[in-house]
C-alpha cells in the first residue's frame, strides 16, 4: 500500500505548477500496468491528501498504460496481457520492455481565473 506516498509525490509535483489563487480542475497521470499501483487505491489516497489545498476537489484521471514489449529474437511488437512474459510469435522470453512501468504526471487543468470560489 504505497499509493499514499505516490499520491503525495503527485501533489508535490502539481503544486509547483499552480499559480497563487488558482485551483486545479483535474490532474492526469499515466500509470503503467507493471507499476504496481492499484488505481482505485490511488484515487482514494489522492482525494484524501488534497483536502485544504488548491487541489481540493480536483479529479484524478488515471491513464492506464499497457505493457508493451519487443521480442529481441524475432523483432515482433507485443502487447503483454498475462503474467507470462513470452513472445506470442516465437515463444522467446527475451523481451525489451517498451512501456508499462511508467508512473508520471502528464498534465493538469486549472480553473479559469476569477472562478476560485466557483
Amino acid at each position: 500500500m504505497h499509493e499514499l506516498s505516490i499520491a503525495q509525490s503527485i501533489t508535490e509535483i502539481v503544486h509547483q505548477y499552480v499559480p497563487d489563487g488558482r485551483r486545479v480542475q483535474w490532474v492526469k497521470v499515466g500509470v503503467g500496468e507493471l507499476s504496481g499501483i492499484v488505481p482505485d487505491s490511488l484515487e482514494f489516497c489522492f482525494s484524501v491528501i488534497v483536502a485544504d489545498t488548491p487541489l481540493e476537489g480536483a479529479r484524478l484521471i488515471i491513464d492506464q498504460i499497457p505493457i508493451q514489449a519487443r521480442c529481441r529474437q524475432c523483432d515482433s511488437d507485443l502487447r503483454i496481457e498475462s503474467a507470462l512474459f513470452a513472445c506470442s510469435a516465437c515463444g522467446s522470453a527475451d523481451l525489451q520492455m517498451l512501456s508499462g512501468t511508467e508512473l508520471k504526471v502528464v498534465e493538469i487543468e486549472l480553473n479559469e481565473k476569477g472562478s476560485v470560489d466557483a
Binding site: 506516498s5 509525490s9 503527485i10 508535490e12 502539481v14 505548477y17 512474459f85 513470452a86 498534465e107
Partner: protein, 218 residues
C-alpha cells in the same frame, strides 16, 4: 481551458536522490545490494550467513529497514559490523531519502559491501530506486512457485534471485524447477542461487559470486 503539460515522473525526486546516493557509493567503491522479499523469507538470516562467510574478506555495512523495532539491527550488530536501523513507522518500503539519511551514520570509506535490507514487501519497494547496484529478491520454499508471476514488477527489477530454505524441500510439495521457470520467464537475466541458512547450503557459492562482483566494482 488552461491545461498545463507536465510530463514528469512521479518519483523523479526519489530518483534524483537515488542518483546522488549511487554517486557517493561509486566514489567510495562500495558494492550496494537492495535485498527485498515478502516478510519471513529469510533476508536477515541471509545477511547473517553472508557476513559470517565474507566478513574476513570484505568490510561490510548494513542498513536495516523495518516498519517497527530494531530487532534486525540488533541481530546483525552481533556480527560486529556497522549497522543503521531505519524504522519506517508504518511505511511499506524504503525511499532514497531514508537511505541518504542513514548513510550519514556510516563510514562508507571503510566499506566494501553495503547491504540494505528493505521492508518485507514484494510490491512497493519495486518502484523506489535507492541507489543500489542491484536488487536481490529472496523467496523461500514455503511460498508459492507462482510468486514471480504474481509480482512481476519486482522480479523484472531484480538482478538476483535467492531461493531460500531449501533444507525444507523434503517436507514440502514445492516445485523448485517451476519456480525457476516462472522467475526466468519474467526476467531471463536473473541469476539464481539456492540457499539454506540452517545448513549453510549454497551460501559459499552466493558469497563467492558476491566477492567477485565486489572486485569488479573497485
Amino acid at each position: 481551458m488552461s491545461v498545463i503539460t507536465i510530463h514528469r515522473k512521479v518519483l523523479d525526486k526519489n530518483d534524483e536522490i537515488a542518483r546522488h546516493n549511487r554517486e557517493v557509493f561509486r566514489r567510495h567503491g562500495a558494492l550496494v545490494l537492495n535485498v527485498v522479499s515478502s516478510p519471513g523469507a529469510g533476508k536477515t538470516s541471509i545477511l547473517e550467513r553472508t557476513i559470517e562467510c565474507l566478513g574476513g574478506f570484505l568490510r561490510i555495512g548494513v542498513i536495516e529497514g523495518d516498519v517497527q523495532t530494531d530487532f534486525d539491527a540488533q541481530r546483525v550488530a552481533r556480527y560486529r559490523v556497522p549497522v543503521v536501523q531505519i524504522i519506517t513507522n508504518g511505511g511499506c518500503h524504503l525511499e532514497a531519502r531514508l537511505v541518504q539519511d542513514a548513510m550519514a551514520n556510516l563510514d562508507l570509506g571503510r566499506m566494501d559491501l553495503l547491504i540494505i535490507e528493505n521492508v518485507g514487501n514484494l510490491v512497493c519497494p519495486a518502484n523506489y530506486d535507492l541507489g543500489e547496484d542491484m536488487k536481490v529478491v529472496v523467496i523461500s520454499t514455503t511460498e508459492g512457485e507462482d510468486k514471480p508471476l504474481k509480482y512481476p514488477g519486482m522480479f523484472r527489477n531484480a538482478s538476483i534471485l535467492i531461493i531460500n530454505k531449501i533444507d525444507l524441500l523434503p517436507y514440502l510439495q514445492f516445485d523448485i524447477a517451476a519456480l525457476r521457470r516462472h522467475a526466468l520467464q519474467i526476467n531471463p537475466a536473473l541469476r539464481v542461487f539456492e540457499t539454506s541458512c540452517t545448513t549453510n547450503a549454497g551460501i559459499p557459492e552466493w558469497c563467492a559470486w558476491l566477492k567477485e562482483q565486489r572486485l569488479s566494482v573497485s
